[in-house]
């Protein structure tokens, strides 16, 4: 969970920073999208680096979900008889309690997101439009529900990171009492920045600040 999660967090940060290019205008954004495909040229053919990134991401996602499923299966095997009274949670951290169902929602969201902006199946524009046009059409004010869906999913991603980043350090044995505050701060800051960075794009389009 920790290692694959770490790969995904690094990717999310890069993805979020790239998205912010939309605030620099259509030309910058489309040029950035093209650069993603020509990265590494001419040393390697077109799309080599991007394909490698996609493979690493795909493997990480699968292993991350596999770890989560095996942990959940072990958990249900470890407590075959449930408690009768409602089990109260005393640990601090709403985020920790959302990890499992939140993870499932995020997985569903990722599928939607790929169908939307990678394969254009659920996008109003098709493959002959530019990336910028597709983004703007996707979060058009008339499609406010799509924006809501993205924002909800991204808030869940933030909660997931808030617990996940801290948890990864604990799992890898890198969390000590002295580092506790710093690690909580790091997890909270990265989670907040990633979420805010991501939601700023669909919100700006829906509210008409970017068109």
């Amino acid at each position: 969970m920790a290692v694959t999660g770490g790969v995904l967090v690094l990717y999310l940060v890069a993805h979020m920073v790239g998205n912010l290019k939309i605030f620099l205008g259509a030309e910058d954004f489309n040029h950035y999208a093209e650069w993603l495909r020509t990265m590494g040229e001419p040393a390697v053919p077109r799309r080599t680096v991007l394909t490698l990134i996609e493979v690493v991401l795909g493997v990480s996602v699968v292993l991350h979900m596999w770890s989560a499923v095996s942990l959940a299966r072990r958990a249900s095997a470890a407590r075959p008889v449930k408690y009768q009274s409602k089990k109260k949670s005393h640990a601090q951290g709403y985020a920790a309690r959302t990890m499992r169902y939140g993870g499932v929602i995020i997985a569903v969201y990722v599928v939607w997101h790929l169908l939307d902006l990678t394969f254009f199946v659920v996008n109003p524009k098709g493959s002959d439009a530019t990336p910028y046009e597709r983004m703007v059409a996707d979060f058009d004010p008339s499609r406010w529900y799509i924006t809501v869906w993205y924002v909800v999913a991204l808030v869940l991603v933030g909660l997931h990171l808030n617990h996940g980043i801290w948890s990864a350090f604990q799992t890898l044995g890198l969390r000590t009492p002295r580092r506790e505050r710093a690690l909580r701060g790091l997890a909270g800051t990265v989670a907040a920045l990633v979420t805010l960075g991501f939601v700023s794009v669909p919100l700006s389009i829906t509210f008409g600040w970017v068109s």
């Binding site: 969970m1 095996s70 942990l71 072990r74 958990a75 095997a77 470890a78 407590r79 075959p80 008889v81 449930k82 408690y83 009768q84 009274s85 409602k86 089990k87 109260k88 949670s89 005393h90 640990a91 601090q92 951290g93 920790a96 309690r97 990890m99 617990h163 801290w166 948890s167 604990q170 799992t171 890898l172 044995g173 890198l174 969390r175 000590t176 009492p177």
Partner: protein, 250 residues
């Protein structure tokens, strides 16, 4: 105090069991939770019924025998307190109180509220010891221990092995118990010879006993009657990775 108890009754390990309701009157708010159960049992015996079986021993919060999940919380509502040290004044008059055993595959119910916790004994057998000559035990003060290490080891050594961490964990993991033992012994100079083998064999036994995997939810430390911190799980993970991936284990 007037109370309604809903107690888990289960005659034999293979029985299904169910919650049974009992009404109690005239309970002193100064009675401990176990004394309140004693009153219930006296009543049951007087009326010819089978008394409720529950674990207890020292009744002063240090032996680790008492258990009970009270209203969904191991050892009841008071933080860092064992069930035997919990008093009825922490409950409201006419409150309905649910009393259940620890729930874990590795802790099978023996009868009513009593569970078999020998899985913990087998984890201890797997590595919860140090090599020391018995009979001619060396003078303890001959081995200096840095004060911060001694304090941290002592904090972990407070673990009484009651199993509340497992009962509280949504994954049924005993990582806090494991971590407490690994930290306690691994910080002391006397525990160094077995340090790397200990963590691996104790963790392997933990998994083989059917405990779940830790997902760092923190429920264990919140339920722990001794307040063992999550730090011990960090140290457990650290030592385990160093022993396996780091190749320290022989």
């Amino acid at each position: 105090m007037k109370l309604t108890l809903r107690v888990w009754r289960q005659r034999r390990p293979e029985d299904k069991g169910a919650m049974v309701e009992y009404e109690l009157d005239d309970i002193s708010p100064d009675a401990s939770f176990l004394e309140m159960l004693d009153v219930l049992n006296e009543k049951l015996i007087a009326s010819g019924e089978d008394p409720v079986a529950f674990d207890h021993d020292c009744r002063e919060g240090i032996c680790g025998m008492c258990s009970l999940v009270i209203n969904g919380t191991p050892h009841g509502p008071e933080r860092a307190t064992t069930t035997c040290q919990l008093h009825m004044r922490k409950f409201k008059d006419r409150e309905v109180i649910d009393v259940e055993p620890w729930r874990a595959a590795a802790f099978p119910v023996v009868k009513d509220l009593v569970v078999d916790r020998s899985a913990f004994d087998r984890i201890i057998q797997a590595g919860g010891y140090i090599t020391a000559p018995t009979g001619t035990a060396p003078e303890a003060h001959a081995t200096p221990v840095p004060k911060p290490d001694a304090d941290q080891a002592f904090e972990a050594a407070e673990c009484i092995g009651c199993g509340a961490c497992v009962a509280a964990c949504p994954n049924g993991s005993a990582a806090l118990f494991l971590g407490a033992k690994v930290t306690h012994l691994g910080l002391m100079p006397q525990g160094q010879p077995e340090r790397w083998d200990r963590v691996v064999s104790m963790l392997d036994t933990h998994d083989a006993e059917g405990f779940g995997g830790c997902t760092n939810t923190g429920e264990c430390t919140a339920a722990c009657p001794k307040g063992i911190p999550l730090d011990v799980i960090g140290r457990l993970n650290h030592d385990y990775l160093k022993a396996t991936a780091g190749g320290r284990k022989r």
